[in-house]
Symmetry: C2
Subunit: 337 residues, 2 copies
DNA sequence: TTGAAAGCGATACCAA
DNA sequence: TTGGTATCGCTTTCAA
């Protein structure tokens, strides 16, 4: 194993100079820095993680807690884990996984043992027990998602309410007065709070714009195709020609397929807006206007907040809502009749 | 922060006694152990991770490398990550995530910096570049999956070949002479090697038993329902009444649905065996005989091998194939006429 | 611009 | 059965 001493000897300097040259925390003359970097490369030196933690009081590791519930939508969840991992690495941090039961016990453990510099919380529930722990431990914690009681917490999330408002607003702008929101199941609305935030925004906008907003439950993902088909048919019967979808890709496909079966062309006879989807909507059979949920945005911001807190000391806890962005694809047509 | 010194003082012993009492590496009298454990609990002591690494040359962390490819089946992948995490925790290890580009660069980095005690490799490709790195780094590495060139590596996996043999064997036992294997796409066969191992086993068994084995590509997951439906109908036309499925849940549902549409009853008119599925087949619309791929089995074994290697020194690198297990559910009926 | 040396908080060896 | 202490490899203060 190569140590800092060997690097120092090879470069003909002291170990402190090597340390400073590598961390940049003290100016080092260009010449010596060159020699040191040469020695580092030649010897394949990598600082010992344990020694670094002990001496530096910095582990360069973030914990990521994810309570893998049975109903978690795997692809979305994976996208968030990946985005968090990439964002962390870009800032020089590794990700330590805390799953399941460890979600709570693990947070305490890694905090008490100084294993991590900060904690990122994924898949946040309305009454998340991790909120309590976050307030208790000394380790900076950032939630990706917003629990009901978020006092004293730092949270990051898409502004779902604004997304709901935006979706309905655009359809209203196009003249639609009857809109159907193809959303999640009742159970999902209890488990998380972002779906209901989206609904609230949609309802607010509907009230303001004086449009009728019906809700049809589909589940985040398709479980009963026939039920969803029936709901869509019923909406069409009642003259609805505008749909907001907040669900996974298969629900989108089912909607588009059903509309097609009814002989309706999206962007002409009928309008569709996808709200807060985390998958790539461009791979759908028909281009659809989208207000995307971008995991990378949330995770980048979360990591940035964590790093800032570590570098600059205490940050004021607060909620950071990411403004939704509307991406047009021609699936919204002016209302007829 | 509570240190070992404070615990020692509170218990009226030396720090070495505290250390030994906690690690169990030296006998400690019952009385003193009690006092120490009391002090630990009272002070909420948790050993400092950095100090432990530095002094003990053990980090109690495993790296988990997962190259999240676009076509990765998320639910299966998540099941493996979860299983690995649980298995590791049970042995006192945390999991450090290495995703994507970090797969290779990260392995070198965590090995060189002594950040982890061992590396677990997930989602193994036939020509996996991580095999090369595993041979180069000093850190014990266990593959969950088997690359084509596995010389000098320690690998763990389901015995897919035996699973393929078993599936065909059971159907042949029931008198079937024409069997259709509903498997993956050509692309998938290139990307991984376990699907082809399963096919090989199935073909071997078919040759031995003198049965006709046709293959129908479906993709690991459904992309073109109509194509798959057509393939199934064609098989039925050709008198096939036995199916082996190696795919995700949606393909299973599609098969069962299509058979139903043809007025065929599974377990009576037609036989179905699910091979190497990692999802819960009991939630299918019809009970299906299954040869499951249990992530927990693979991950438990992988962690055990890693731990054994750490505790007992060098282990002989080798391939550990987990024997498949047949779970009957009444979906295999005797062949007719 | 650089060096010397004091810790950081455990582990584990050597004694008693 | 227990205690004292050298040691791990780095960061950082204090001096030069």
């Amino acid at each position: 194993m190569t140590t800092i001493h060997e690097v120092a000897r090879a470069a003909g300097v002291s170990i402190s100079t090597v340390s400073y040259a590598l961390s940049g925390k003290r100016p080092v003359s260009e010449k010596t820095r060159q020699r040191i970097e040469g020695a580092v490369r030649e010897l394949g030196y990598e600082p010992d993680a344990g020694a670094r933690m002990l001496a530096g009081r910095r582990t360069h590791i973030f914990a990521l807690t994810e309570p893998l519930r049975a109903d978690t939508h795997a692809p979305t969840h994976m996208a968030f884990v990946l985005a968090a991992s990439v964002a962390a690495r870009r800032q020089g941090y590794d990700i330590l996984l805390l799953t399941d039961e460890q979600a709570s016990e693990g947070m305490n453990r890694v905090a008490a043992s100084n294993l991590v510099d900060a904690i990122l919380v994924l898949d946040v529930a309305p009454d998340d027990e991790r909120a309590v722990i976050a307030r208790a431990v000394g380790t900076p914690t950032v939630f990706i998602g917003v629990p009901d009681d978020h006092q004293g917490l730092t949270c990051v999330d898409l502004d779902f309410e604004a997304a709901g408002r935006l979706a309905v607003g655009r359809l209203a702008d196009a003249g639609h007065r009857r809109i159907t929101l193809l959303g999640q199941t009742e159970a999902a609305y209890r488990r998380s709070n972002f779906p209901r935030r989206l609904v609230r925004g949609a309802q607010d906008a509907a009230a303001e714009r004086e449009v009728v907003l019906d809700r049809a439950a589909s589940g985040a993902t398709v479980t009963e195709p026939s039920t969803v088909r029936t709901a869509i048919a019923s909406a069409l019967d009642r003259g609805h020609r505008a749909f907001v979808v907040h669900a996974a890709d298969d629900v989108h496909e089912l909607l588009l397929g059903t509309l097609e079966e009814h002989g309706l062309v999206v962007g002409e006879d009928v309008s569709v807006v996808s709200a807060a989807a985390s998958f790539d909507t461009s791979s759908l059979r028909v281009p659809v206007d989208t207000i995307p949920l971008v995991p990378q945005q949330s995770c980048d911001l979360a990591v940035e907040l964590a790093v800032r807190r570590l570098d600059e000391g205490a940050a004021t806890p607060e909620i950071h809502l990411i403004p939704p962005e509307y991406r047009s694809a021609g699936s919204v047509a002016p209302a007829r009749g």
